[in-house]
Structure formats: C-alpha cells, structure tokens
C-alpha cells in the first residue's frame, strides 16, 4: 500500500512538470505500441518489392525499406527490441548490482574492498568494447545483447546502493532492528532496501536510456540482434547506405530513438528532483 501511494505521488509529481509529463506521455505511447504490435494492422516482415525504397504513400505512411518492408511497422516492432533490452538489462544489472552494493556497504571491510574493486574494473572497461567481446563469445542474439548491456549497468547500481547503505547503516532505525535481534540479511533487504527505492528508481530510468542507446549502437555496428528482427539501430545502419536514394528511410527510427532517450533522461532528471526534495511532490503544481 505504501509503495502504491509512493508511486502515485511520484507520478503526480512528474505530471506537474511539462517536460516529464510530455516524456511520460510519449513513453506510454511507445510502450503500448510495442506491447500491442500484433494487434495493429501492420507487418514488419512482409515484403512488397514494388514499393522498395519508395517514399511515403497511403500503403506505407513512412515508406518502405530496401526489401519493401513497411518502415512504420518495423519502427514499432523495433521499439519492442529496445524496450525488451532495456528491461532485461535493468533486471540483470539490478539483480547483480543491488546485492553487491548492499553487501559492500553493510559489512564494509574486505567485502567492500573486493566488491568495489570488481566494480572499478567493470567501470574501466568501455561498455561498447565489453559488449562486443561478449557477443563475439556468445554470438549475435537478443540474449547476448541484453546480457552485455545488463552487465555494463552493474557498477551503476552497486555504487548507488552502496552509497545509500552507507548513509542509512548507522541510522537508529537500522540499529533498532539489530537491537531486537534482526539478522543482517533482514536488515539489508527489509529495512535498508525499501528505503533506497527512490534512488534505485532514478538509476533504473537512467540505465534504461543507456541500455537503449547501447543496443542501438551495437545494432548500428552490426553486432546487435540478428536479422530479420527489427531494431532501430539496425534500421539506421541500413538507412545510412541509402541516404541518397531514400533520405527519409532513417528519419523515423532516428526520431523514435532520439525521443525515447530524451524522454527517459527528462524523466530521470525530474525524478531526481522530486525525490531529493519531497516537498516538491506535496507542492506539485506550484513553481519551484
């Protein structure tokens, strides 16, 4: 009940600002389109050779690609690839990074030293290079891309959570749980973690945008999801080859990608401001 209230309050806070409100609206449309793609009268795979690289028409509102596939349909299905990668990456990064941060911050000492050096090493590796190496090992697949992007997100979570644990660890309500016999595990997952959701939420949003961008970059380099699965990065990559014949080809996927990243970032910034200053939520609607 509390988390529901918290979510509602947060969403209300976001809706009170024009930037985040628009972003939220846009993302809702993208998510809905990706989720309901099958219901829509579109098909990203059927090839219409007559319309190859043709411009917008009644049949293909945003034109067709080099194989005569509907670009709009492929952008909508591409959203699914992006969002699945984002969600999967966040899940992997969170599942590894959050416990890492909790343990490192809670116990300190050698555990902290070991875990945080691992994080440092992960931070030192360029994300794209790391992902490409992983894909080289596992081969091109949605799973490999997802894992690669997810692993690069681990340090972010681990550091955010650890910092949060360090500020909460000595607070009286954590010591209190210890005083009536709560175990360290209980304290980490039932006391400290619920008090860290807002920071984690911001990180989720930030990582989502990073993940989508990284997925697009991998696809653009030709090592992302294997064809014929539609992907914005892949479309940009092919569109680039037909810049002269079909300049409109890359426009729609480019816009979709840009707006998605922009929306995530705007929401992330909005969230950070709301959560670090809870009164903003209360006074939602007022100038800040």
């Amino acid at each position: 009940m509390n988390s529901l209230r918290f979510m509602l309050r947060t969403i209300r806070g976001l809706m009170a600002r024009p930037g985040p409100a628009l972003s939220l609206l846009y993302l809702t449309v993208v998510v809905l389109a990706a989720a309901l793609a099958e219901v829509l009268p579109i098909d990203p795979f059927s090839q219409d050779f007559v319309m190859m690289l043709e411009g917008p028409s009644a049949a293909h509102w945003f034109g067709a690609d080099e194989l005569g596939r509907d670009i709009l349909a492929r952008v909508i299905y591409g959203a699914r690839t992006s969002l699945v990668t984002a969600a999967g990456a966040v899940a992997i990064a969170g599942a590894i990074g959050i416990p890492m941060g909790l343990v490192a911050g809670f116990f300190g000492g050698w555990r902290d030293a070991v875990l945080m050096r691992i994080v440092d090493v992960m931070m030192a590796l360029p994300a794209i290079l790391f992902a490409m190496a992983l894909i080289a090992v596992f081969g091109r697949s949605q799973g490999a891309a997802l894992l690669a992007v997810g692993l690069t997100g681990v340090p972010g979570f681990a550091r955010i959570v650890r910092a949060q644990v360090l500020t909460l660890r000595r607070r009286d309500f954590v010591v209190a749980v210890e005083a009536f016999g709560g175990t360290s595990g209980y304290n980490m997952f039932r006391t400290i973690l619920p008090n860290s959701w807002s920071q984690i939420l911001v990180q989720v949003v930030v990582l989502s945008s990073v993940a989508i961008l990284l997925e697009a970059a991998l696809a653009f380099l030709g090592v992302g999801v294997p064809p014929p699965t539609p992907s914005w990065g892949e479309m940009l990559r092919t569109g680039k080859s037909y810049l002269y014949e079909a300049p409109y080809y890359a426009v729609l996927p480019g816009i979709a990608l840009t707006l998605t990243i922009l929306s995530f970032d705007t929401i992330g910034r909005g969230l950070a401001r709301i959560l670090e200053n809870p009164r903003d939520v209360a006074a939602a609607g007022g100038p800040t």
Binding site: M1, N2, R171, D172, F173, V175, A176, V177, E178, A179, F180, G181, G182, Y186, T191, P194, N195, W197, A282, A283, G285, G286, P287
Partner: protein
C-alpha cells in the same frame, strides 16, 4: 526612561508556500529591548520565537512576508533597502546562532572570520584585523588568543567555537545582540561558562541581548525580562522574577508545572495535554485553548483571541481569565525511592569492569594509531524494578555503555551478566534469546522509526523477526501495546512522518515493549522532545514501570529529568563512573567534585533561588578521550586536585558511612573539610 534599542510593533510574518498556501508564523508581536538588559524569548518549537528575531533584522528568506514595524535605534528595518540592512547587521546587531560548528566557515581562520565583517564594512583596516581578532578572543576569554586567532574552527572545541562566535557578534560593538539557542548544543558545564560570558559582556558593553531559548532554566538564570511565545504571539511578558513567581498566563503556569525540578522533592509531573500548535493549523480563538485548564472550553476562549493585557503587576498576559490561574501549589507527593535493600536480591543486570575501546587507524597501512577508551572500567548493578541513571556530558561513554549492554557494540573487556548469566561470547541464537529480555529506546524519535513502514508494522517488526507474531495475538496484541503507550489503534496505517515527536517516541516505546522485555535501556528518551511533551513521556515511563515491573537503565544528560525518574544515579566522566549512589544522596550530598560542579552548573527554573545559589564555574571542557589526562581524568578541571591526582588514578571506593561510592582522593561535601584550593575555581553568587 531611556529610549529602547529595539522596538517591535505589531510584527506579523507570513510564509508563502507553494502557490496558494499562506502560513502565519508570527501574528502580531510587540516588544521593546532597553539598554543593558537581557530579554529572553521562550517558547516551544513552532512558537515563532526564532522567526521573530530574524524578522527584526531582515534576515528572513524571500518567501516570508513581513508586516508591522521594527525600529532599531530609531531606524525602520522593515522595508529598508539592502544597503541599510547590511550596514545595520555589520554595526548595530550581532548574531549568535545555535550550533557553533556550523556557524563558522571551516576553511577560514577563526581570527579572520571574526573580523571580516568589520573589514568588509570599512570599519577596520585590513592590517589591524589580526590584532583586533586577538583582542576579541581575549575578551571572550579564549586562552592563548595569539595562537588561536590563526587556527581553524576544527582546532577549537565546541565551547571555544561558541566563544569565538560571541566574539564575532561583538566585533562591531553592536548595540544589540541576538542569541538564538546559543547553548543548546553545548554541555551543561560549558553552557554555564558561555551564559556567564554573555552576561558579563553585556555588563561591560551595555548592549542588550535577546536570548531565544526553550529552556526555562536558562531563562531563570539569565533573563531580566521574559516574553513567552505560543502559537506565533507573545502570551505573557514581564520581569523574570514575577513570571516565575506568579505566572499570569495558563500556558506559562502549566509549563512551569510540567518540568522536572533539580531542587525540589520529586513529584509526579503535571504535563500539558495535547501537542503544541503548529502555525499551519491554529484553532479559532485563543491558540492555547485546546490545552488550557483555565479556559476549559469557555465560549469566549474558543471564539476570541485575547489581547495582551496589563495585569497590574508589571506583567502583561494574553488571557481572558488570567486572574483565575490557581497559585502554584506543588503537590507534595514525592515519588518514593525503591526502598528494598538491593543487596538481598540478585541483580537483573550486572556490568563488571566493562571496557570498550575503539581503535583509530591511520595511514596507508591502517596501523592502529591510538585507542579511544570510550568506556574504561564501568561496573554497575541493576536490581529488578529499579531505575538506574547514567549521567554525564557528551563523550563520557554513557551511550556506548548502553549500546554495549544491548550487544550493539562489542565489549573489549569485562563482563555483562543478565539474570546471572554472562552475555559475552553468546552465540547469535543465544544472544537473540537474551535480547528479548532487554530492549532499547532511542534518543531521536525522528530517526529511530523506519520511514517507509506503517507504525503498526514498526511495532510488530520485533515480533515478526522472532516469529512469534501470531503466538502473542497478532494485531490485537499490537492494539494493546498502542493502548498501553497512549496511542489509538486507529493510527495503525499511518507512517512515522505523520506523527509529532512525542507520539513517535511513544511508538518507539511500544516497539521496545513488544517482546515483553524485563529491562529497558532508555537513551535520552526525552532529550529531543518539546518541554511540554517531555513530561507526558516521563509520566508514561513511570506508569509502565509500575504496571509491568520493568527495570530501566536511563541514559541522560539532563540532571532534572534524571532526578525525577531515578532510584539510583551513576555519574560518568570520560569512560568511568566517578560517583554512584541513591538518587537523593547524589543530589543532596554529592561528594565527587565533578558531581558537585555538574549540579551547580545545571540551570534551575527559579530565578530567586538561582541567584542565592553558589556556583562552581568549571574551567575548560571534557578532554579528548583518545588522549586522556594522566591520573584522574578530571584533575585538569578539578578545584580540589592535588599532586597525587595528576599522577595516580583514584580507585572507585564505597567508603563505609558514605552515602555514595566515589572515585576521588578528595571526596567530601562541598562546604566541608575537603581541601579548598587555589586551582581554577571561580565561585560567584549567581550572576
């Protein structure tokens, strides 16, 4: 009559929050300050006392709307341009804020900070600044001012920082000093020094002081005149003696009755019911009406806010029925000390020579550079059903002792026995079983409750952890606990931030009681609460102890509270117990010089008795526990210290015939045969 230095007329301050909301924090305040006097503004949180002072000098944030008139030396402050205000703050008003550790800029030398305002205002040449800073530090009695002036704030102790801030406030030879809770962050012996310094500086300069405080003891010790604020208005004002002798506003009267006393026989506290009003939800009519016994629901009180009226005795009171206030009849119902001879019983908790040392590691290799002996050989017995208090100033190790008993900090040496069984070296499971018998109540109710849980879940949490929630009766049992601490089970679904401080502390107590413990460790349970709420919580603790047969280990620095609640008292200094005995023995015939100084430094809320009382003004502050003095830790500040004290640690002995056990070579009554000495002591009568 001389002209007032500051004259405030019908001051009103509204804060604008969000777009629509307007909160009236100060609602029509009038007062004057004349040369050479100390005006104390006293009130609880939310009474508007600090905002009044800030408004008087134009220091409020931009979302504050200030109306009325404030004249400082004849110049109107409200609506004055920035330049006038700046000049005024530099030359005419000096400020002393509550927390000296945040008032000073940590990266600027203290001496430079003290004079930079003057230099900036062109009142002091830059090349003379250092000399002036040294002079100022000397005036506020900081030892070795030449060296100190070039040091940084972290090299100063808390008391010295506050002295520097006072020096800074006086640098421009202002015609008015405003001190906002100047001693709240300080220990009681240091508080006495700082208040004394303020009073003497006032004598020398003639500049009046507005002292804002919540502590009636401080008011009684320092004030010439008092203004009591409640709900954004002055409800009573007059000369200090008159206010304390015969309060003519029900709030003042109730406040004086609700505080525990250091110097009177113990009695049950008479708390003010309810919560202090907040500016956001003022009742119609008199703001104090919902809590008032004199008004008692009379229609006039509920509909009309009384103006400040002359009562004919030099005081003004904002009460319709001020003449109906009953005279202060201290009910002579002493709370009996536990009378059982303790030796016959087995102790419930026994602390034997407990030592807790912390290591300070330095350098890349993290070598142990020093030990902080936070607790250094504490022995104490608690018998079933009694309250034993650990008293001392900050850093004396009282909280560490409590937490170590609770098993939250590992002991370095010694033993802790609960019910005859050692708690050291217990397995996790064994520790967990023992812990059900002892519980901890934290000082700060604002940080000891998990903000994301409902209060029901918070109280039930220990039961869930021990897996006995259903066994003890589930939600019904939680409702009983709520009832027991005076909360309604209707509050179950609320979150801690919806509660006031006193209510939160009740939740904390209910949680501590959930496992049906036999011993409660109470770590300053009322220190963070408003004065009128403290009495409610103290009475609750009193009742619970009687009903449930609880044993309390009460940790506190407030000597009046300790006297009220304890059966026995142990005074700690720098990790050791220096004196221990029954409550009345400690308070009536202390024999350790530290206990004597502590008792004489504690301000008492009675101006007449306060002036009669002889005071021991201790010099210096509590030493650094990582580098304690050789011999007796108290010897550098002690007025009886001899050669032997500086080289040899006095053992803790319970001399036959002596009412208390003492760790001192020169223990004895204050005015008795104890060797009086020439070492730093300054006896003076009151102020």
């Amino acid at each position: 009559m001389t002209d007032p230095v500051l004259s405030v007329r019908d001051l009103k301050v509204d804060f604008l929050t969000g777009t629509r909301k307007r909160v009236s924090v100060v609602r029509g305040v009038d007062f004057e300050v004349y040369p050479n006097e100390i005006l104390c503004i006293v009130g609880e949180s939310g009474s508007g006392k600090s905002v009044t002072a800030l408004a008087a000098t134009g220091l409020l944030p931009e979302n504050a709307e200030v109306r009325g008139s404030v004249r400082l030396n004849g110049t109107e402050v409200i609506g004055a341009d920035t330049e006038t205000l700046l000049r005024m703050r530099g030359r005419e008003v000096g400020f002393v804020f509550q927390d000296p550790s945040t008032t000073l800029n940590p990266v600027v030398q203290v001496g430079k900070q003290m004079t930079e305002g003057q230099v900036w205002n062109g009142l002091l040449a830059r090349r003379d600044a250092h000399a002036r800073a040294v002079e100022l530090l000397r005036e506020v009695e900081v030892a070795n001012p030449e060296v100190r002036a070039s040091q940084y704030p972290h090299q100063f102790s808390g008391g010295m920082r506050q002295r520097a801030v006072i020096g800074m406030a006086m640098a421009g030879k202002p015609s008015l000093i405003i001190a906002d809770e100047p001693t709240t962050a300080l220990d009681v012996t240091v508080q006495a020094q700082v208040l004394d310094l303020l009073a003497r500086r006032k004598q020398e300069t003639g500049a009046p002081i507005i002292l804002i405080t919540h502590d009636l003891g401080v008011v009684a010790e320092t004030a010439d005149r008092v203004a009591v604020m409640y709900g954004g208005r002055i409800v009573e004002t007059g000369p200090v003696d008159e206010i304390f002798r015969a309060p003519r506003h029900p709030y003042t009267a109730a406040l004086l009755k609700s505080i525990p006393r250091l110097n009177t026989t113990d009695r049950r506290l008479d708390p003010i019911p309810g919560q202090p009003v907040t500016p956001a939800n003022l009742p119609p009519g008199c703001p104090f009406e919902p809590r008032c016994r004199v008004g008692n629901g009379r229609p006039l009180c509920q509909s009309e806010e009384p103006p400040l009226k002359d009562t004919g005795a030099a005081t003004l009171s904002a009460c319709h029925y001020w003449d109906e206030i009953p005279p202060d009849d201290l009910p002579a119902r002493p709370r009996p000390q536990a009378t059982t001879t303790p030796e016959e019983q087995a102790p419930l908790l026994e602390i034997r020579d407990l030592k807790v040392h912390f290591q300070i590691r330095r350098g890349i290799l993290q070598r142990v550079a020093a030990h902080v002996r936070a607790v250094d050989g504490v022995s104490l017995k608690l018998f079933p059903g009694e309250t034993v208090s650990l008293v001392g100033e900050s850093g004396c190790g009282k909280t560490t002792t409590g937490r170590t008993v609770m098993g939250l900090i590992p002991a370095t040496g010694g033993d802790i026995l609960f019910d005859g069984k050692s708690m050291r070296g217990l397995s996790f499971g064994g520790m967990r079983r023992t812990r059900r018998n002892l519980q901890y109540v934290f000082q700060d109710p604002f940080s000891s409750l998990n903000p994301v849980k409902t209060v029901e879940d918070i109280v039930a949490e220990p039961l869930h952890i021990h897996g006995i929630y259903d066994e003890v009766g589930g939600a019904k049992y939680i409702a009983e606990l709520f009832d027991m601490v005076g909360l309604s089970p209707q509050m179950f679904g609320r979150f801690p931030n919806e509660f006031s401080g006193g209510q939160k502390q009740r939740v904390g107590i209910a949680r501590a009681l959930a496992l049906k413990p036999r011993l409660l460790i109470l770590d300053e349970p009322v220190a963070a609460l408003d004065v009128s709420i403290q009495a409610q919580v103290l009475n609750l603790l009193d009742d619970l102890q009687r009903e449930l047969g609880l044993t309390y280990l009460f940790i506190a620095h407030n000597l009046s509270v300790v006297r009220h609640i304890s059966d026995r008292v142990a005074v700690m200094y720098l990790g050791r117990i220096v004196e221990e005995g029954t409550r009345d023995a400690i308070y009536d015939s202390p024999s350790h010089p530290y206990t004597q100084s502590l008792l004489s430094a504690a301000p008492i809320p009675d101006p007449v008795a306060g002036r009669r009382r002889k005071r021991i003004m201790l010099q210096g502050e509590v030493p650094d526990p990582s580098n304690p003095p050789k011999g007796c830790a108290f010897s550098p500040r002690c007025f009886r210290a001899s050669e032997r004290c500086h080289s040899e640690k006095p053992p803790f002995v319970h001399a036959p015939g002596s009412p208390t056990g003492v760790a001192c070579f020169h223990a004895g009554p204050l005015d008795g045969a104890a060797p009086e000495t020439e070492i730093p002591i300054k006896m003076e009568a009151g102020r």
